[in-house]
Symmetry: D2
Subunit: 91 residues, 4 copies
């Protein structure tokens, strides 16, 4: 079965590999006694990157749910995008 | 120079290595077409783990700032812990 | 037209009135020079109460979207609840 | 005793009164059956306003803590601002 994020699998994995590199870089900063506030800034950047991945997954999921077995695909997609927009403002 | 997180360097790095493994696991879940909501749950877990690392760094930083060149160490530490507690409730 | 939160209008308004009272209380704390960390704790409580209202609205919206013009109501409700659960963990 | 937010009491109370009005407006939107996503947008705006109040309080608190009984006031203020900047990125 194809899930909602099927069409964005490649970019999602690229983003996740980048986050993995970011976290490895943060570990190296701690190893090298880098300044605390600079480490925190990199952690915030990794969190923001994970937020983007999560929102992309949510968008795919909501679109999939709202359009399957329905004829009103266009409206379903708009509703799902709107929902994800609302969630992204709450994060 | 020794920064505020000096005393917790080892546990911080262990946590970060674990987060790196979590992110790699999330990438594998996407690769294997795992169910979207399950992937989101793992992303939330990685975010929570990064929050804990950030709060530990903040705690060390605040303690360091508030106790250096001061004689009132005990009070400085309490103030800093209190501050971090407040921040953790805001996340 | 009846929107998704129609059935929970009363409890939603009761919650919002309570949040309004909380914010008025926070303003009074600032007026009375209450201790900063205590004010922050009350702000976190108000934020948590608003999160709950938002999630209740999202749940109603998602349920409404996923069940209208569909015969598979039961599945639509489960999907929507699951979605809201995922979002709540991201906040 | 004068707490850390003493100098910004007036603007803080003005902001909080505005948030109180926002929450009252949200309650009215629910009363009037306004569209769910529009209500969520207003909730996000109220949350953002509360975040700003909280960060202002934190800034005052950190500055106060880091400069009292110290001679290095300038450095203490920079450290506190830096801390608040880091926290604001985590929210």
């Amino acid at each position: 079965m194809k899930y909602g994020y099927y069409d964005t699998k490649d970019p999602l994995q690229k983003r996740l590999n980048r986050v993995e590199g970011q976290v490895r870089g943060i570990s190296k900063m701690v190893q090298d006694d880098k300044y605390c506030i600079d480490v925190l800034t990199q952690i915030s950047a990794a969190q923001a990157a994970l937020d983007k991945v999560a929102l992309e997954l949510l968008r795919g999921h909501a679109r999939h749910c709202l359009t399957s077995n329905q004829n009103q695909s266009k409206d379903g997609i708009d509703k799902a995008d709107e929902l994800v927009g609302a969630i992204s403002r709450m994060l």
